[in-house]
Structures are given as C-alpha cells and as structure tokens.
Symmetry: D2
Subunit: 284 residues, 4 copies
C-alpha cells in the first residue's frame, strides 16, 4: 500500500480539521492514522494524517501543490507531506564508542527500519572495522580547533553528495557549529547520556555518581546551537544505587542510550515528530 | 467555561471526522480536545471531542437529539455526550483494607476530582471510622452465601437512591453477581493487586513471591462476569528482589494499587475511556 | 521479637565484618538482616545489622557501651544502635498543599509505620482542618523575613518539647536556616517536586513544561544548607507527553511526591539509610 | 588484579559469616564485594564474597580444598568458587529472529563482557550470515519430531567439544528435552517474550494484544523441564496503548528482550545469581 503522511501546524482556528479531512476524503484517500494536538497556551494547532493514496484522485506529484492551494493557504499552515515510497538517507556520526553504532547497524541490516545508511563519518578511525563489517562507506575526518571550518565543509559536502536527509550523532564527541546545524535544522538527532536538563555537557555519569542520584537517564534531541538544549524527542531512565560505580552507571547508561536513540530515529522515520517552540510533539 | 465531551464509536467509514467536526464548528463550538483511534483490525472508528458550548447555537438540552439526527444516524454510531456541569456520583465499596479508601477520600476532599461520594458500602464495619472522619454515609451490608441475593438487592437499592453513576471497588472482597454487574456495565471499576493476566484470583502477592518474579503490579479494570478478566484501564509495576518478603510485596503493592485505581478513576471522570471488545481505548 | 539495628561506617580494613559478627554471635544474638557496602573509591566500609536480642547476653542498656569498647574503638567507627521498642517522634511541616499530608496521615493512622506524629507545624492555617480531622496538634507559626529567627526558635522549642526525632517537610514552602538544619542534620526529610538536580528551586513543573521533557520526577532528600542539594534518599519518575499541561504535570507530580516521600520516611524509619559524602547508602 | 568469587548457601546457623570472613581475612584476602541474604521463611543462608587473591596465602589450586575442609564441611554448604582468570565459554542457540543475536555479538565484540563465544547453533540457516560477519562457527542442526533425540545428542557433543560452560537461548524456537536440560542445570538462560507468568508458551504478543494489557514485558530465566517456569533472573516492561498493533508490541518487545537477556547474561557472568527453590537471588 502506498501512503502519504502529512504533518502540519498553524494558528488554531475553526475548521482546520474539517478542511484537511475534506481534502483527503473528497479525493478518495483512506485515512489510516490521524492525530491532532491543540496547544491552548500558544494557540497553535498540530495535525498528522496518514492516508493510502492507492485510489487517490490527485496525481502523486500534484498532491503538494493541491494541498497548498486548497487547504494550507487559507490557514497559513507550516506543513510537509512525506511519501512512503521514498526511503530516506541517514548519515551516522561517531567517535570512539561503538554501542549505539552496533545497535543502529543491527536494526538497519535486519530491516527493522525503512532507511538507507549511505555512510558513516568519524573524527577517529576506531570504528572503521565495524563500518567495514557492515559494508558501509566510512569517512575519517579528524577535527581540530584549527581545521574545524574545513572539516565541517567536508562533512557537508559528503552529506550533499549522498543526499543525506538526516543525521544521527551516535555519541559523536564534537560540537557542531551553528552554520552546520542550520543545514540540518530539526534533522540532526543527538543522544545525550543524561536525563536532561540534568547534567548537560561532558562526563554526566561522573556527575551523576558524585551527586548520588538514584535514577540515571538518557535523552535524544534535535541539536540546536545551544548545547544539549534542543527539542527533546525521547527520554528513558534506569534505577541505580549506592553499589553502582561510575563504570556501572556507564554500563547501564549505554543500554539507555541505545534504546532512546533508536526510539527517536524510529519516530523521526515514521514522521511522528513535530517541533515547535523548542519542544516536540510526538504522536506515539 | 461550560463544555461537553462526546465519545463515539462506529464502523469505520469515510467522512466521520468530517461530519463530527462540521457538527461542532458550524454550530459555533470551540474544540478544546480531539482524539481519534482507528482499529484497522476490527475496522472500527473511535473518537473523543471536547468543546466549549458557551457560544453553541444548539440549546443545551437539544444537543443529544440534534447529534443523533444530524450525525449519528448516518454512521450508526454508539455515542454519549457528557456535560461538564453535571458532577457524577461515585459509590465506594470496601471490605477491611483502608489504603485505597484513604487515598480516594483525600483526593476527593481536597477537590482533586469533580465527583460526589454520596456513600460507602462495606460488608464489614472496620472502615466505618474513616467514613465518619470524612462525613460520608457508611452502609454496613454483610454478605454471606445465604443472603447474597438480598444483599445485592439492598446495594442496588442504595445505588439507585443516591443516583450513583459509577462504582469503585476499593479492595472489596466479594464477587459481584452477573445481575449486579449488568446494572453497572463498564461503570464499576475494580483494582486487582497483580499484573493481570498474571495471578488472577486470591492472594496474588503470595503467588508472586512463590514464583520469584522481579516485578509486581496492579491493574484497574471494569468488572465483567468473568473474574479479573474485564477491560483493563490502567496498570503499573514496581521492582522487587529476593530480599522482599510477602509483607514487602504487600507494602509496595498497596502503593501501586492506590496509584492505579486513582488513575483509572481520573480517566473515567474525564471521559477518556472507551470500551470495545473487552479492551479499553484510553485517550491519555 | 525485640531487635536492635546497628548502622556503622569506618575506614575500610580487614576484619570489620569478623569483629561485628563475632560481637553479635558470641553474645547470643540472632542475625535477621545483614548488609554491607564497600566504597572502594573512598575506602569506606558501611554496615547494617539487625538482630534479635531476646536471648542476648548483654543487657539492653549496656549494648552501646559494650559495642564501643569491644568493636567500635578498634576501627574508629561512626555508629548508632536503634532499639525496636522505641517508637520515634516525627513532626510534619506543611504550608498549603495537602496531598503529602493526607498520604502521611493515612499511612500513620492505619498503622503502616511505627511512628508517632506529635504535631504538625505550618506557616499558614489552610491545613488545620486536616490536622483536626486526624486529632493531631497543629501549630500555626507564620514566617516572614522579619520574624524568621523568632519563628524558627519557636519551631525548635516545639520540636524539643515534643522530643521530635526527625522532621518531614511535606511541601513546606520556607527555606530553613543553617542553624535550624544543624539541629536536624540528616534528620529532616524534604520532598522536592522535580528530578534533582534538574529543576531545583521554585516552580519546577513550569520549568519542566517549558523545557519539554518527556519524563518528570520527584526527589526526597535530607536538607542541608545548600538548597535542594542534600543527600538524595529516593527518586521516582512518570512519563509525560506534549498533551500534558502544567496542570497535568502537577497532578501526575503530586502522586510521585506522595510515593517518594513515603518511601523515604519508610526507609528512614527502618534505619536503612546512611549518609556519607552528601550521598546516601540505602540498604533496600 | 586476580580475584575469586565464592557463592554459597546452607541452612542458616550462627557463625557462618564469621567462618567465611575468617577464612578470607586470616589468609590475606582483601574483600572487594560481600553480600548475604537470609531467607527467614526457608531458614537458608546465602552469601557471595569476591576477594583479591594477589596476596592470598593459600595457593590458587588449593583454595577449593581448603575452603571445603576449613569452612564448608562444618555448615554442609553448597558452594562454588569462580576464578577471574578463567574466561567462560558461552554457546548461543538461535532460530530465525536476529535482534538478540546482534545485541549479544555487538557486546561481545566490543569487549563489554569477559566471555568467549565458541559457536552458534541453529535449527535454521537464516542467521548464518551474521555468524559469518562476526567470524563465529555456525552449526546448522535442523530439529524435527523424528530426529530430536539425535539432534540433541549432536548439540551436546558440540557443547562438550567446545567446553561450553553455559548456553544462551536467544529466541531459540525449540523445546529442549529434560535430558538436555539436566546437562545445563541453571546454566541455560532463556529469554521469553512476555512478563511471566503471564502469557507463557507461543505468541505472547498476540495474547497481550488480545487481552488489552497496558504494559508488556520480557523475562529471562534458567530453563527447567517445565516450560517457561524456570527461575526468573530478570524482567523488564514497557508501556503500550490502544494505538499499538501486534507489530508495535513485537517491535517494543524486541528491545525489552535484548535488554533483559543481556542483563541476565551479565549477572550470570558476574556470578551474581544463585538459584534456590526455583527462584533466584541476584546480588545486584
């Protein structure tokens, strides 16, 4: 079955649901999933509709245009329509830690996700053998204070070359510049190894151990120019106790990181995530 | 603000959302919350809409009639409209354990819920002092094998007298007859002290301890004629370990029971629960 | 059965367990619970032993002295022995919010805890009716910038008068002075309505909502002179989503607060909590 | 640092801790971890001690003998001493599902566990490419009703040949015979895709979906001759809702299975698990 998924938001108004559902039904679409959210505080309306276009009266390549004219214009909507027959390209950035990379590649190779992984970029060579093992091109681009601008330019050139739709920072230990981020606004998913906003920045497990917390966490978020402060997509936690060393926290935390990052990627791929006001709406 | 909440389900068909939202908008309603669910397996459509009727063009006492004629008939809907200015009456059934009763009465007295508690019914006298402390009429109706029919008749008479809308079995240790249940179909909420379907029936903490589970749970559900097999509204769990005695399981379990039962009552009061095929849709 | 519970810590050394268990066994004690913890980083040893003294050869009022001489001196231990026949006195401090107070009083009245509650202190009159309902003396001591010193002196006088062993701050909305805290070092349990160290200080639910977290939490800790930075006893979390308003966060959070505070009180009463280096060891 | 880990259980008696700690300390051992558990109901004592033997006065190959004579005999202990310089051999049994296999191999290859994986056994060929990718011998042993006895004999021969210490059934879809199990008593770890004892046997996700549970789970346990009824090592859960299809449950469940199985393997490898009365003590 071929489907499209529409994500939209706009100022709340009477008749939005009506207009959108009219557009789908009157053109022969069969709604499979439909979700809305009204942010009464901000007075913003959000909607996600997924419908089968097997019998849709509007030609595939005209849907965008028709939706703009027939519906979106009236409500000044921000919107995007995603086609199920397009498989997105995901690039992975890594440094030395391999647990998230193994988890992502296992899921990818076993067909758990509808995604291509055209390449892996790393500032170190440590994980090249894993890329080789899974037959994925691996680009080693060391980053220093001095070459950061050039290194990011190379990264962006590779992303362009491989038509990368979104980026996953699977424990990539470099801070990306605002310029880089602007190219992948709400399309670069990071995993941070703490329960944000607790313990941002470096060595959160050390800080968690020192503070004596009873629960640790991991957070996936879209990166923004503010470190570890982007829109949160998913979080998960695990209990720890006084017996646990920093190494235990790291070990338990790795499992959280894998889980939380993969959930974020899944929801991103399913087009279930919308960003507004530095927060996410996740239609789970 | 005065509101109504519509719950409906019907065979899935094109145009349902359209018809419902038209009904609300064209009559001047302002949608505050809107949720749908499509059960693709059963081909059933579910919807919940809450809207402000402050400027609604249809008179309050005509909304039901108009909705039936203008929308429901066409799709053969099962539906119910609830008015925010009606405060429902909730009866509590208890036996000897007091933790759920304290929790419910504390929430009620502090105004956490929009609900009246016109009476408490018990087959024992143990908890009468608590009813007195909170100034709620307490009816002591002992139940034996011999008098069960009469006792339930008395209970039903009391429920009728106090116009009770729904019943909460807060660790009530009697099995209700099918006849009784038929009067409160999907309106009698039970708390079972296990993670159903594990450990149904008596002494689940003993069974959990014997089995050596690492997690215990509690389950709130609408009662049906099949013991501990009704539609599940909410479940929650807590970790246990080899150190925990049966008494520890009971102690931890009590906290789960309070939590899970109160969440079920809250969602029931918010009209967020629909029942279909012995399962619930909870628009959380 | 009459028991004592020994809590100790000291620099790690060979033979501590040996000495302690010798002390118990050779004097006819029957060990019921025994837990140790070795902090290899700090090189500190922690131990908790609970034994029956029904057939103990050392007289009840000589146990402390004997333990000091026979065991503690050798290892320069910090230690405390608690007798099961002493029921501790717990004072509750509240302001206007009642959920934790109801929860504590319900548990107390139903005999869930071995504790006396000789009085409730509040800077407002709002919760006096609940104190009356449960027949507990209620002291209304308003606190302003100007009278803070006098108010705390009055509080301390009351605590002394009632021989209060430990204090529970059940959403008490005043910051206590270092002087006050010094009288109840590791004996004043606070509940903070966030997942510390995230969102310390005022209005954490508002901050959590603004940040768009997917999980909220509550933290119980012993108060120290550093606001919301004392040793954490227990934490718990609940999932939230984009649908949840600040009010929803508060509602879900109240349930966490009740749960987390009561677990901390339980573990404190069971003498399962030790404090070291601004962290807790909880022998759960 | 070279260490040994002692696990023991015996009838509870005065002086056990004393004897064991004497044995360690008087021979120059340095205790690193020490845990006990007293099952007051069954009157059984359990203990785990890990100590450094770098300066131990007893020769490495005499420790067992000495412990038997000096300590174990007196209390009729069941015990086992494990040496840190022995790396155990773990065999993996799989059928067609690959998620647990990927997870295990990723952890193994990245050195997360101190374990050898000398071979993978499967009744199908599907996962051979993964074994090849990770350079592990793969044995394809189809099992039918007719050849079951011979197939298990071949499996046992392979396990013997590779000196396999314990077996992990990573979604292996065959029931092993009592005879096979007797060779790997408490040394064959299974992952079951439900929250046991709920939904034992085949297709638990289908059953969970039909029952409408709000939480699903996974359980790792040692296999016994009773299907899905062996001693539980670890369990974990995830929330589900009415939106989730059976496929969603499977997807979420796979992540639980990976997590729960790997935690069981970790604790088994750390010698933190003891079995008694069809239950486990896990010194976590």
């Amino acid at each position: 079955m071929e489907t499209v998924t529409l994500l939209l938001n706009c100022k709340d108004a009477k008749g939005i649901v009506l207009s959108v559902t009219e557009f789908v039904y009157k053109n022969g679409g069969n709604v499979l999933e439909i979700d809305q959210h009204i942010d009464n505080q901000e007075d913003v309306f959000f909607m996600r509709v997924k419908w089968s276009i097997n019998d849709f009266l509007i030609a595939k390549d005209k849907i965008d245009e028709c939706f703009q004219t027939l519906v979106a214009d009236k409500f000044e909507m921000n919107w995007q329509i995603y086609h199920s027959d397009y498989v997105p390209n995901m690039a992975i950035f890594v440094t030395k830690l391999n647990h998230c990379l193994y988890d992502i590649l296992g899921r990818w190779q076993s067909g758990e996700w509808e995604v291509n992984i055209p390449m892996i970029i790393s500032n170190h060579l440590h994980l090249k053998p894993i890329a080789d093992q899974f037959n994925i091109p691996f680009y080693h681009l060391p980053v220093t204070k001095e070459n950061k601008v050039e290194a990011e330019a190379e990264q962006l050139a590779l992303l362009k070359k491989y038509k990368v739709d979104f980026v996953v920072l699977a424990r990539y230990m470099q801070i990306l510049s605002s310029d880089f981020i602007s190219h992948y606004d709400n399309r670069a998913i990071n995993i941070h190894h703490s329960f944000l906003p607790a313990f941002p920045g470096a060595k959160p497990y050390h800080s968690a151990h020192k503070r004596g917390v009873k629960i640790i966490g991991a957070t996936s978020h879209y990166i923004t120019e503010h470190l570890d402060a982007g829109p949160i997509i998913e979080q998960e936690i695990a209990r720890v106790n006084h017996n646990n060393t920093i190494q235990d926290l790291m070990r338990k935390g790795k499992d959280l990181e894998k889980l939380v990052l993969s959930r974020a990627i899944y929801n991103h791929l399913q087009r279930k995530v919308m960003v507004y006001n530095n927060k996410t709406i996740v239609f789970d």
